[in-house]
Amino acid sequence: MWKSKKLLIFPAIYLLMLYLPILGAGDHVNMTDLSFNLRHVGLLANSMKLALLSAVIATALGFFAALYIKTGFMADKWYRYFFILFLPIPFYTYALSWIYFIRMFSIPFPALLKYSLKGFGACLYVEVLEYFPLALLLALIGMESISASDIEAASVYKRLVIVVRDIVLKEIAPYLYAATGLIVILSVTDFSVPSMFQYNTYTLDLFSVYGRTGNVTLVCLKTLPVILLMLVPLSWLLGGMRKFGTVKSGRLKMGIHLNGWMRVVSGLAFAVCIIQILIPVITFIVTTGSVRVFADAFSSVKEELLVSITVSLLAAIFGTIIAFFPAVMIADSDNGVLGTVSMLPVAIPGAIGAMGLLKVVNRSFLHVLGDSVILSAIGCGIKIAPFMVLIICIYRRYTDRHLTEIAWILADKRKKAFLMECRLILPGLMIAFMLAFFMTYAEEGIMLVLMAPGLEAITVKIYNYLHYGASEYVSAFCLISVGVIAVIELTTLAIYRLIVVGMRK
């Protein structure tokens, strides 16, 4: 898009939408409430320990699994991306599957019951599985940007380990940095998994502060240490993104054959690909128990499904509208300031931002929005917009710059060149749209705070049933959610192939 100062209005709107709920709440804050003591340091350390370990393990697994896929028979098949199917699965789905999995095995093996389902280990397991598809996705995209002949040329002179270290790993390092940075950010700002497994983190503590005081401004100010810490993974993420290359021509299959320990490790990482899909599905099928329960659950959840899908769709549309221009501007600029400012609000838990939005809206004529699903959609859109910026930005950097430049040279009207730009990043827009859709579908806190009276999202229904102790219905709801997500993913893939790939045939 051509550099016009008028376009600066779009990032301004984006930043306003992002920061208004935080700054506009206008609650009075006593300075004494802002104290930061040793307990807080400990909580921050807990958050970072969990986030860093999850990020490092998930990224390493993602790298080796991608290596296995890109050197095997799936390297050039469309279904090589099948293993990211569970990327949009809500955090608690993995957490619940872990709980039910242990419970199931404790029947034949009662000794298992002594292993408590709480604490750091359980959180780590769930987070690694939760974030693993994300790392796999970025590693796969990274590996597709390496020319097969580069690898083959190196393998003429050096042995496999050196080729993987010097060519593959170095070429996809920016993608791995980005994956690590993103996972650290997502992990530190999540409270659902730590709360489920009773592991104290800083973000969890922020909720207790909000529960005690109801003060949005105070909680936002208390996120400052998290925001400062987030600058490090943000710099990995944005720094990595700036070095993303464009797709190089060549074969999709890497010209190397894995052997020795590398084959074993890659095979194990690939096994995790299978496990992270099979364990939740199997445990939910077993725990649901009967077709009757499943049918009952399905008929009782239709309305909630409709609400979740509607809000997700609206949030994705809203998010795309506000994220598009800032994303393109960040991608085209080498200045990291806009990128950093655009991403910082991800450190604030969604539900707290939603409380702020509710306060701002209730003070204005916009309060009527609260009577429909629109306010929930706006709240989710605001929370998810930075991630959409990220995806669009990555794709924009991934697109050959000359293709957009030549459109701007040859076009006779601004609109024509702009449409060509949109067309060139259409796959990125579609991915960002779907990410927003699924993240909204999985959202619980914002839905709880902003949902119109009389309506309920599926995530909130699962949360309520979980507290009633109706585990067979919870499992059935999770299974239905997984099914809905799979159907929507496959439909999107079909539409994508129809629009993007089919056009070439």
């Binding site: 051509w2 550099k3 016009s4 100062k5 050959d400 000359h402 293709l403 430049e405 030549i406 459109a407 701007w408 040279i409 040859l410 076009a411 006779d412 009207k413 601004r414 024509k416 060149a417 060509m420 067309r423 060139l424 993007v500 056009m503 070439r504």
Partner: protein, 199 residues
């Protein structure tokens, strides 16, 4: 008339070129010649509006080009060193992109003269590198622009295709158009009858 007036450019404090001036009239050909890294491509990018000059001006048809003017407002088309075709569009749609009215007859005629008439209904992924170069050239010529900027259009192609493109460019009348041709090869510029500017 396109006038390049005392433009200069530096990258990371290192001066690439300084006070470069030349003019291109309708129907004339200017050849920019020089070693790698002397700024030939950068000059074309500055004329096209893709980069800013550190000093000097670009004047097209008596209008000074401001930095804020978008490339499509500059009345110049361009061929990059790589063909840069849009893969989602057929060859004929790539060629017609810069035309305000899609004149199929003109596209067919241009394709015939460049020897790419058989691939008009194909997608860029289905054609060879030499054919892609000719498509990029056809796209620049078909565009409703007065000035054509060619950045080493004969690099990385086989001899046969080189000869075909050179013959085409030699015989092309360029009525109402001006051409700036960047090349490493002085012989190529002489063969095209360009006024050569050494950088």
């Amino acid at each position: 008339m396109l006038k390049v007036d005392k433009i200069s450019k530096a990258f990371c404090g290192r001066e690439i070129f300084n006070d470069v001036s030349f003019t291109v009239d309708m129907g004339t050909r200017i050849g920019l010649f020089g070693p790698s890294g002397c700024g030939k491509t950068t000059i074309l990018r500055i004329i096209a509006g893709l980069e800013k000059a550190d000093g000097g001006e670009i004047i097209i048809d008596d209008v000074v080009m401001k930095d804020t003017m978008a490339p499509y407002e500059r009345n110049a088309s361009m061929v990059f060193q790589d063909p840069t075709l849009w893969n989602h569009m057929k060859v004929k749609d790539n060629i017609a992109y810069g035309m305000s009215v899609n004149d199929r007859e003109y596209v067919n005629d241009l394709a015939l003269r460049l020897g790419i008439e058989d691939i008009l209904d194909k997608f860029p992924e289905q054609i060879s590198g030499g054919q892609a170069k000719r498509v990029a050239l056809a796209r620049a010529l078909a565009a409703d622009k007065k000035y054509i900027l060619l950045d080493e259009p004969l690099s990385n192609i086989d001899e046969e295709t080189k000869v075909k493109i050179l013959d085409f460019l030699k015989n092309e009348k360029l009525t109402g158009k001006g051409l700036i041709y960047v090349s490493h090869s002085e012989a190529e510029l002489k063969a095209l009858g360009c006024d050569i500017l050494r950088l």
